[in-house]
Structures are given as structure tokens and as C-alpha cells.
Amino acid sequence: MATFIICASILTAGSLFAQTPTPTMPPMKPELEARLRKLETELRCLVCQNQTLADSPAGLAGDLRREIRLLAESGKDNEEIKLHLKARYGDFVLYKPSVESKTWLLWFGPFVLLAGGAIITWRVTRRKIVAPVAGTEISTDERQRASKLLDE
């Protein structure tokens, strides 16, 4: 909701958005509509940058939805449509970044950190269990004294 308000306020300010509306198009087949609706949730609106293309009220999002539809109707599959937009707007347009050498840290970094934490935790706890606490061992001399005291 908050992002919607922010977007709407930028929209009314009109500094970033085009005024001529996206031309309306004839209704599409339900299966295509469902497919595109899902695809639009995987793409980012470049204007309201934390919204998906499906949710954004921005003018550019409308243009991009139309572009996606035209591409789909010309026979392009979802991957091809994503590549088409990526070539123009860069990786940013994808909500889920692709797995490449430059995104390895992003994808696997958290798991590496988690594994590192687990190793440290394991080593610390194991040391505590195994290592005898200094000064807890008693000599035979002390043992004799203790039993003597207990006997009394």
C-alpha cells in the first residue's frame, strides 16, 4: 500500500510519466492472460522500483505490459520475452536475478555464511564438552582427605 501511495504521488506530480495513455487493445484469450499475468509478477516496474509490472500503476508499466503481450502474440515464449526486456533494461528488470558468475555471491553468499556459522558453533560447543575444566581434577591426597572428612 505504501509503495502504491508513493507511486501514485509521483504519478500525479507527473515528472516521470508520460501523459498519452497506452492505447487500449482488444481482450485476449483467458489462457494467454493467465500466462502473462504470471510473467508480469516476475518483472520489475522500472518506475515504481519495488513493484512488479503486474501491480504498477505507472504509465511505463502499461507500455511494457502491452509490449509483452505483443511479443507473446508474435510467438515468443516467457524466456525470450525476459531476454528481450533484459537486453533493454538490464538485469534490474528481473525480479529474480539470473544465476551468473557475478550473482554467485548474491545467490550462495547467505548459505556460505550459514555454513560458516554452523562450523564455528559446532567447534565451540564441542570444545566445551570435551575439554576438562582446569582445576576440577583432584589428587589422591585430596581424595583421601575428603573421605576422611566424610567418615567423621
Binding site: A18, Q19, L46, V47, L60, D63, R88
Partner: protein, 188 residues
């Protein structure tokens, strides 16, 4: 026994202090760096790529077309704008000044605007453009990766995009970045 002698005896002990400290400073550095970045500014996917093939009607005479190929052999500047765009008004005097210098032909890319509004705007604020084209539906704008106005591209003689700036051009940017870049590309 003092603290220093124990840590000298056991080098692992020094690490136990130094490592978290190093991690802490690394984090501070990244966070500090993050403050100076503009998260809204996107790197263009089109830098050092050819300008997309387009053919658009000219604003002042929509029976005439202009394409990227018409500009081949010249270094040129493409400026995306609209009469609905507030920052474009702020930028406009800088473009007028740039046109006066005569270092580069400026092509105005009127984005999703009513042609009559656009023409009225140019009469009122001055027309720095050698050519103006209008993209009523915004399809070429998508090919250019435009996500807001104003945006400015510099294209070299071979038709490659060499520079892109999103947002209004300031006088400083014009003098310190654009003009030297254009002069360099003209010499090349």
C-alpha cells in the same frame, strides 16, 4: 601476568579480536558507500551497443520520417523529453546553451506527448533540436531502455551508444562531461 604477554604466547588470541574488528570495519565501509549511491539510477544495458533501429515521424512534419541511419557518420545527442515532464523544463535552458555552442546536433525524442503540446512548448521555451521525432506509443522508447524523462544519449559516428544520463542535464554535466566526450568522439 599482563594482557600483552598472554596474546604474544598465543597468536590465535590476537585473531579473535582482530577478525571481528576487521569484519566490522568492512561492514561500515559498505554501508557508508551505500549512502552515496543513488538506488534509482540504473546502469544502461545499451552502453557500447548500437542504437536500436527505428524510424519515427518528425514532430513538425509527420509525413517525414527520421531514422537512426540518417545520423550515421555524425556524433549526435538524443534527448528524450515530453511537455508533461517537469524536470525537462529545468533541463531545457542547458540544452539551449548546448545548441548555441554548436558542438553537436541534438535530436529531440518527444516521448508519449501530444504533438500540438510539444510544438507549443518548443515555441515557448526555445527549440534546441536539429531534428525532433515523436514516439506517440512509446515503443521505440522501450527499445532504448527509457524509464523516465529526461534521458540523454550520446551516439558516436558508427551509431554506437557511448553515454547515457538519466535525469536533467546540469550546466556542470554539460561542460565537464558531455562537451569533452563529444569533442573526443568527433576526433576519433
Amino acid at each position: 601476568m599482563s594482557e600483552t604477554t598472554t596474546s604474544n604466547k598465543n597468536p590465535g588470541r590476537a585473531w579473535r579480536f582482530a577478525l571481528p574488528l576487521a569484519i566490522f570495519f568492512a561492514l561500515v565501509w559498505f554501508m557508508w558507500k551505500g549512502l552515496s549511491l543513488n538506488p534509482r539510477e540504473l546502469p544502461s544495458a545499451l552502453i557500447n551497443k548500437p542504437v536500436p533501429v527505428f524510424s519515427l515521424p518528425q514532430l513538425h512534419d509527420n509525413t517525414k520520417m527520421l531514422s537512426g541511419a540518417d545520423m550515421k557518420g555524425k556524433v549526435w545527442l538524443l534527448n528524450v523529453w515530453g511537455s508533461w515532464c517537469v524536470s525537462c523544463r529545468y533541463e531545457h535552458p542547458v540544452l539551449n546553451a548546448l545548441a548555441k555552442k554548436g558542438v553537436v546536433p541534438i535530436v529531440g525524442f518527444n516521448w508519449k506527448d501530444r504533438p500540438e503540446d510539444a510544438k507549443g512548448w518548443l515555441v515557448k521555451f526555445g527549440d534546441p533540436y536539429a531534428f525532433s521525432v515523436s514516439d506517440l506509443e512509446g515503443r521505440v522508447a522501450i527499445d532504448l531502455g527509457v524509464y523516465g524523462a529526461p534521458e540523454t544519449f550520446i551516439i558516436d559516428k558508427a551509431g554506437m551508444i557511448r553515454y547515457k544520463h538519466a535525469g536533467p542535464i546540469s550546466e556542470e554535466l554539460m561542460n565537464e562531461t558531455l562537451v569533452p566526450l563529444i569533442q573526443g568522439l568527433n576526433k576519433a
